[in-house]
């Protein structure tokens, strides 16, 4: 008897969570643009509201199109549940707010997307949730930052802006020693390049706006529960996570950890977080993101192949000061990347051109194929010059502390012909050096 096999990544990308529509036979997942769903009778209504039966009630809580996306991303990540929300920021907020409240503490990598850093450093702080930021490469710093009220450790699979590779196995081990979960932002890597649950993470989220959607057409976020963390055990050991392990007055006294041994987090996130915070994803966007996921592996292979060619070009260009990409031996996480990211380190990276802010502006303004905008993960190649956009008010010396120089450029490599992209960058570099 040969051992059975799970469906492969590409098969799941196309089929997980979706079947031909039972009402119409439609093969593509229909966009269920319906706010609400009819009850069969009063008993059916009551049983849906009380989680005695499963089904859709109101699209803020669940929607059939969104459910396909949620189940698909959970399958691709090897998790137990997904939650589709309005944006990556909403996914991060939902992840934190489900298990942390006033008086809680978070330990986070300091190498974060600016929006995530803002949410933790300023906005969550206003609601009583403190964060300690640590160097993600300093394992001792992670351990030392944990306090009695810490609820979660958090980092990005590939940090911002230097692509610090998070040592998920080691940081997860530190978290688990303290009966804490590790949550990661997996946006840059997607499940095709890295499945964080396989390495010890417990929760993850995506800005699905990026590579999952892949075409720059829809804003969305996906929070995924690995089902790996024993919330009840952690509650019994530390008293944390009463939100999941004690009766919740806001939902009929439900004890989520009794309802589900492995997914109480997702039950609470949906029954409280989607219900009350209401950061729901439009089914239209869920459809667009599903379309993107259908070709995820094909696109990621091309994104990575193009990126490698461009990194190779830039690394030896005389007008380039430095390139930060973990596949380069010069990157501090080169060895770790080989272990965790054998298929590639994504398609977003930074490099620095020689010169000042003006040189940076000349570079950006002379590009013809790259689009100058604030996004990543599009099929089209994108560029942004932090010193003249996101960080234009920041003095030069403070830029350096963030790992940014006046000549730092962030590229998101798309699916165009690599030769055309290289020619475009060569034109930009030439223009940048003209005024030097």
């Amino acid at each position: 008897m040969s051992a059975p096999k799970y469906p492969g990544f590409d098969t799941l990308s196309l089929h997980a969570g979706a079947a031909p529509d039972p009402a119409t036979g439609a093969r593509a997942t229909p966009i269920y643009l319906s706010t609400s769903f009819v009850f069969k009778d009063s008993d059916h209504a009551a049983s849906l509201f009380n989680m005695e039966r499963a089904g859709h009630v109101y699209s803020r809580i669940s929607n059939p199109t969104n459910a396909v996306l949620e189940e698909r991303i959970a399958a691709l990540e090897g998790g137990v549940a997904g939650l589709a929300v309005a944006s990556g920021q909403a996914a991060m907020h939902l992840g934190l707010a489900t298990i942390a409240g006033a008086g809680s503490h978070v330990v986070a990598s300091r190498a974060l997307y600016g929006g995530s850093q803002n949410l933790l450093a300023y906005t969550m702080k206003r609601f009583g949730i403190e964060t300690t930021f640590v160097d993600p490469r300093d394992l001792d710093a992670w351990r030392k930052a944990i306090r009695p009220n810490t609820k979660v450790l958090f980092g990005e699979t590939l940090g911002n802006p230097g692509l610090d590779v998070l040592d998920i196995p080691k940081v997860a081990a530190i978290a688990h020693e303290h009966y804490l979960p590790l949550m990661v932002d997996s946006t840059f890597t997607t499940p095709y390049l890295l499945r964080p649950f396989d390495h010890g993470a417990d929760l993850l989220f995506h800005s699905a706006t990026k590579f999952l959607c892949g075409h720059g057409t829809a804003i969305g976020g996906l929070l995924v529960d690995g089902g790996t963390f024993d919330w009840q055990q952690a509650y019994e050991k530390t008293g944390h996570f009463a939100e999941l392990c004690e009766p919740y007055d806001g939902f009929h006294g439900m004890v989520f950890s009794e309802e589900s041994s492995v997914a109480p987090f997702s039950l609470r996130a949906r029954r409280e977080g989607l219900r009350d915070f209401g950061a729901v994803m439009s089914p239209h966007n869920a459809f667009a993101i599903l379309q993107g996921i259908e070709t995820l592996s094909l696109r990621m292979d091309r994104h990575v192949a193009n990126t490698r060619k461009i990194v190779e070009f830039l690394a030896v260009h005389p007008a380039v000061d430095s390139v930060s990409y973990p596949e380069l031996e010069s990157h501090p996480d080169h060895a770790l990347a080989k272990t965790l990211l054998p298929k590639g380190c994504g398609a977003v990276f930074s490099f620095s051109i020689k010169g000042d802010r003006a040189a940076g502006r000349r570079f950006v303004e002379s590009l013809k194929v790259f689009s100058h905008l604030a996004n990543v993960g599009d099929a089209k190649s994108l560029v942004i010059h932090p010193a003249s956009t996101t960080h234009f008010r920041v003095p030069t010396e403070q830029l350096a502390a963030s790992g940014i120089t006046e000549g730092t450029m962030r590229l998101s490599i798309g699916l165009e012909d690599a030769d055309d992209l290289i020619e475009d960058l060569g034109r930009g570099l030439k223009a940048a050096q003209k005024g030097a």
């Binding site: 089929h15 459910a67 089902g227």
Partner: protein, 268 residues
């Protein structure tokens, strides 16, 4: 709810309501390497519709302490002891897979106490292949993967379990891993051995005097419907219901069909 059964702390999920032994009691018994949560979309409904619910974690499974018991007969005795502890004289039993054998044997041992018998995803004999037995002993994750793959009929269960957005196969895999993590004492192998070695099924089936229901998934690869013929024939008046588009994880793949059949059966 925590009970002390045969000297060990035992967990029972009661459907989100305090257990009331004055109500008609339905006991839900999970299968190998599982716990009470496999009945999420059946038990809560029963508890809110006039029944007292005891969805057990078998010894050494999930939150229940102790070692897993090595035979169906011992598990049946344990179940009857649990009824004593809970103050329940008579109960209906619902068992899935290995749990169905426990229910059957308990009904054989205490015919006066079992009012109705529902066997879900059942078979007799419930032989486990040598490959799977060996894997459960020495390569538990391989055994988990085998059973998980064979237990599901599709990549898209609707409306999913315990609700939309949940990945059923992922949840089942994590549940089996959770049982292993909580108790590293080879629970899976002990359970499979109990199924494999159980030899009183036909005699027990012939003894059943209460109403009996057999709920079977038409695409069940673990306990295929044809493997139920012995039980269906031996249990006098047994009602056999086949659920379409359904594998061995009936409660998650077709939660409403399972619930509606069980509830209709229990209401008599």
């Amino acid at each position: 709810m925590l009970l002390n059964v045969q000297g060990q702390e035992t967990y029972c999920y009661t459907g989100g309501k305090a257990f009331n032994p004055e109500l008609p009691t339905v006991v839900f018994i999970h299968g190998a390497q599982h716990d009470h949560s496999v009945w999420a979309l059946q038990t809560r409904y029963f508890a809110h519709h006039g029944f007292g619910v005891l969805a057990v974690d078998l010894p050494g499974h999930g939150r229940s302490k102790g070692s897993p018991l090595g035979s169906v007969e011992a598990l049946a005795d344990w179940l009857l002891a649990l009824l004593d502890t809970a103050g329940v004289q008579k109960a209906a039993l619902v068992g899935h897979s290995m749990g169905s054998l426990i229910a059957l044997e308990a009904a054989y041992r205490a015919p006066g106490r079992i009012t109705r018998l529902a066997l879900v995803g059942t078979a007799y004999p419930m032989k486990v292949s040598d490959v799977l037995l060996e894997a459960s002993l020495n390569e538990e994750q391989t055994a988990i993967d085998m059973v998980n793959i064979w237990s599901h009929s599709t990549m898209a269960q609707k409306p999913s379990c315990p609700g939309p957005g949940f990945h059923v196969m992922g949840g089942n895999q994590r549940l089996m891993q959770y049982v292993s993590r909580r108790n590293p004492a080879k629970v899976f192998h002990t359970d499979f051995s109990a199924c494999n070695n159980y030899s009183n099924g036909e005699a027990a089936a012939k003894s059943i005097g209460c109403p009996a229901l057999l709920l079977l998934g038409t695409r069940d690869m673990m306990t295929p419907p044809r493997a139920t013929a012995t039980l269906a024939k031996a249990i006098n008046g047994a009602r056999v219901v086949h659920i379409d588009n359904c594998g061995h994880n009936l409660m998650a793949e077709q939660p409403d069909a399972v619930l509606d059949n069980l509830y209709g059966f229990m209401k008599g």
